[in-house]
Amino acid sequence: MSEKLAILWPEIILFLGTCVVMILGLSPRIEARKACAAVAAIAIVLAGIVGSLAPSGGSALLPELMNYSKGLIAIIGLLLLLLATGTVDRAEERAIAAGQRTFDPLRATRGEFYAFFLFSLTGLMLCASADDLIWLFLALELTSLPTYVMVAISTRGTRSQEAGVKYFFLGALGAAIFLYGFALLYGGTGTTNLTEMHAYFAANGLNPIATAGLVISIVGIGFKIAAVPMHFYTADVYQGAAASVSAFLAFVPKTAGFLAILAIVAAPGWAYGTSGESLPPELRVTLWVIAALTMTVGNTLALMQTSIKRILAYSSIAHTGYMLVGVIAGPGDGSFTQNGVAAVLFYLLTYGVLNLGAFAIVACLEHDRGDTTEPDEADHIDDLKGLCRTKPVMGWVIVISSLGLLGLPPLLGFFGKVPLFTSGIAAGEIALVLVLAINSAIAAFYYLRLVNAALLSDPDPKGETLRETPLPLRRVAAVVATGGVIVLTIAAGGLMTAAEQAGTYAPMTHDEAERYLEAAGRASQAAELPEAP
């Protein structure tokens, strides 16, 4: 118990921060409520520092995963927080500032918003340290449940509420599916502990019930990472929510989903197939089809959009497909070039930073109608026209982010993709790598449209009401994300080493597994389990 607690300090810090924010958020004084964001930021920074310095722990199969993930979560989380400042209650505060209304504690939702924000990050960090199915389920749900509320309250419009409801129902469906998968896994192996499950698989091999459990779990978690066929909500929800919350959705649940998928597929491990170095065939085929479909569907549908948020939503689906290649490839011999797990972890970082920059543009540009209603986000692709000339900073943010997401060398996205290529080829998945290559080319169509609009078009004459948001922290987030792209491109080597270490996979041999089960008092039980029909 105590060693479990020792690795959970980051989560505890975040949780304490959440409590403080919740209480502060109830304060009748507006100053206290405004401090919520600051408290949240401090909690995230502290959690990040503690998380990356803490002794490693978590799952015994991916022993180094935790620290890297928590550091990553804290960095991107902090940027997301900067971006999310002032998302809720803007109309209210404008009215107060204009003297039309006085502060009414009952109408303000600021405290709740930041509390849910922190709750979700807590869940995400818990995913990184999970070593048990029950824990994993709770962590995944702790990540997702607050996001349903965040979507719904992110703007005052009915669209957000519709998006929130849609997200909630489909999210519940997804959760039900993977919970069913978890149940089958327990039924097939007699344990919920992932290390013990791995030992069971290593000692006794797969059985049909467990295999079905694995496949169903993956499909269910597909909701979190927005993979086909669980991707339908993505575009509508991202469009309905405020851009800052969409950026949150594009990173936080996705990262949680990938950490969960890695934890689950690590249980059977990559020791099956004809060469003995791939996932169990059923699982491999499932993931293969999901990956190929996800990137193709995401990229193809993104071609037809005119809303920036919808483009980014479909592109985030495509990126899920790319990362699944790394999951299929597996850890290989552990070196960075062959380690698909490390490739996924590195890609999560590159994707997180680049995607944040792209969403930040939508959050930073708005049409001001001049009254006390909320300003509309500049979500149409035409709003980007001539941005590099009229608002150079914002223009270059979107140009660099788009080209980075496209994977154009020498930007960061390219170095995210190369390990996916190398690990995929090393694992013998040549066909899938070709699908990945072709999809990268398709993606060029719509990312170029963004670049084209911002860099090369003349400003839209209708865009007179377009202005930069008065919220300075959002602009800081956009600029920091883009600066980060450049800095991380130069420093990619060090990060790759970190990702390589984080992707360490420590499977058990058959003998070790039997000893482990014996020590756990399950040897006889394992032997007694009937051969499945």
């Binding site: 070039t337 080209l403 084209n452 080597g493």
Partner: protein, 550 residues
């Protein structure tokens, strides 16, 4: 040294970004001349006796986790292409001197950045570094075309970007596959081109084939080879003059250089099998593009299609797989850069004066612009390979290489040694004959164009005169009727190059010799293909040259 060569344009681009727009073109000019100077210095340091080995090397680790480095080094072919790039640098700046009047900082900065990327491609000795530079050339070119091109520029730029990006990402997959093959054998990942080449050659044919197809997809788009050439005429036509010059002069050479540097030395067995197919594609490109040229009324489009045709010669020369053919092809890369680059300059100059490129609206300009017409005729002759000018040397060598590369012929002649420089190869006289029709077509369309535009009755676009003499018409800049000294100085170096390389090509041929030998030696001890061996005289060509039949 090579880093310096790459850093200079970048540095000046940065300076441009911080200075007022009026200074941009001067800074760019100084920058490109400094780069030219550094290039000349590098050429002096190069030891030509060992031109086949990598020289002026520098090693810098970049991303150890991936095995990626920033290693650079040049052999003689890379060096010559870098020299071509550096030579075109100042010319491009001068060519844009009056044509670009808006957003000058953007224009000149991207021009210089493009130069850095191109030098990087030729200098890189690391696969990923090569690829980074190769891809990065897209961005400056994309910006140059879509901001400074003519009416249809957006579409042209997008098409250019998408075609080449798609091709090269498949090529990347192929190249990474080679790297993995190496890693599997050697136990560690490296992207050093020389090392990977050695590994790649040991791959069995069944593996070499897909790798070759992947690589060719990437490089053929860039060349461009039929049937993936469709982006080029559009991009050329829409690009600003300097953009066209760089596109024709250097960017297309990235494709042939890629074939020279990767396809030929990496997968010789597959290349030997596929050479006839590629040759047929090249010939289709040569003839088909030539015929299209013939019916063009837009002068710039005509020259653009002629590029497709010419690059067909370049590729077929490479795939002759013998000394003459490959040397000729490398010569062709440089010559085409000089002569076609100059033709684009000339068309740009005429366009600045008349604002049209249509042959219907231009004619007999020799009367109005004698100097311009002189240059036009000169470069047109260089382009159709008039003996004594540079085009002749390279085109003749390419054809010669193709002609000689015939298994049947070599075998019938008793031994390859009877015809100096000839090696058994998969092509032969029939291929040469087919490609030769392209030469004739080339002469027809170029002479037709020159005859129409330079000679004959004077035709000028309606309303030109009042514009030229009226004041304040935007874009005219009160250019005199004929060329200004600046324009003449832009063209003279290219003309000198054409003449020198045409009359006395041996220094260049000697320079590239060692590098070409390295590649040809891979094919010398190749197992001859049984299908190509003569089994009798049944299917032998009737017009087999008499002098080699004893």
């Amino acid at each position: 040294m090579l880093y310096l060569l790459m850093a200079v344009p970048l540095l000046f681009a940065a300076v441009i970004a911080t200075r007022p727009p009026e200074h941009a073109r001067w800074i760019a000019l100084v920058g490109s001349f400094v780069a030219l100077g550094v290039t000349l210095f590098a050429m002096l340091q190069f030891s030509y006796a060992f031109g086949g080995s990598t020289q002026l090397e520098a090693h810098t680790p970049w991303i150890p986790a991936l095995g990626v480095t920033l290693d650079v080094g040049v052999d003689s072919v890379s060096l010559l292409l870098i020299a071509l790039t550096a030579l075109l640098g100042p010319i491009c700046v001068l060519a844009s001197w009056t044509a670009i009047t808006w957003q000058q900082r953007t224009y000149y900065a991207w021009l210089l950045i493009l130069q850095t990327a191109m030098v990087g491609v030729f200098a890189a000795r690391d696969l990923i570094f090569f690829y980074v530079c190769f891809e990065f050339t897209l961005i400056p070119m994309y910006v140059l075309i879509s901001l400074f091109g003519s009416t249809n520029r957006k579409k042209a730029a997008t098409k250019f970007f998408l075609y080449t990006f798609t091709g090269s990402i498949v090529a990347l997959a192929g190249l990474i596959y080679v790297a993995w093959w190496h890693a599997r054998g050697a136990g560690e990942w490296t992207f050093a081109i020389a090392t990977l080449g050695e590994t790649a050659r040991q791959m069995p044919l069944s593996v070499q084939m897909p790798v070759m197809i992947a690589m060719l997809l990437g490089f053929a788009v860039k060349v461009p080879l039929f049937p993936v050439h469709t982006w080029l005429p559009l991009a050329h036509t829409e690009a600003p003059t300097a953009g066209s010059v760089i596109l024709a002069g250097v960017l297309l050479k990235l494709g042939t250089y890629g074939i020279y540097r990767f396809v030929l030395p990496f997968v010789p067995e597959a290349v030997a099998v596929a050479a006839p197919t590629i040759a047929v594609l090249s010939i289709i490109g040569i003839v088909y593009a030539g015929l299209i040229c013939w019916v063009q009324t837009d002068v710039k489009k005509l020259v653009a299609y002629s590029s497709v045709s010419h690059l067909g010669f370049c590729v077929i020369g490479l795939f002759a797989l013998n000394h003459v053919g490959i040397s000729g092809s490398v010569m062709y890369m440089i010559n085409h850069g000089l002569s076609t680059g100059a033709l684009f300059l000339l068309i740009g100059m005429a366009y600045e004066r008349y604002h049209t490129r249509s042959m219907k609206e231009l004619g007999g300009l020799a009367a109005k612009m004698p100097v311009w017409a002189t240059f036009m005729v000169f470069f047109a002759m260089a382009s159709v390979a008039l003996p004594g000018l540079n085009g002749f040397v390279s085109e003749f060598m390419c054809m010669m290489g193709v002609f000689q590369a015939d298994d049947a012929w070599a075998a019938a002649a008793g031994s390859a040694a009877q015809v100096p420089g000839s090696t058994p190869g998969p092509l032969g006289p029939w291929f040469a004959l087919a490609a030769g029709t392209g030469v004739i077509i080339g002469a027809m369309y170029v002479l037709y164009m020159v005859g129409k535009v330079c000679f004959g009755p004077l035709v000028e676009p309606a309303g030109h005169d009042q514009h030229a003499h009226g004041d304040g018409h935007e874009g005219d800049h009160h250019l005199p009727a004929d060329l200004t000294p600046r324009e003449i100085w832009t063209l003279l170096p290219l003309a000198a190059g054409c003449l020198v390389l045409g009359l006395y090509p041996s220094p260049v041929l000697d320079t590239i010799e060692p590098s070409v030998s390295n590649i040809v030696s891979l094919y010398d001890d190749r197992v001859e293909l049984p299908a190509m061996m003569p089994t009798g005289d049944t299917d032998a060509p009737a017009d087999r040259p008499a002098e080699v039949m004893p």
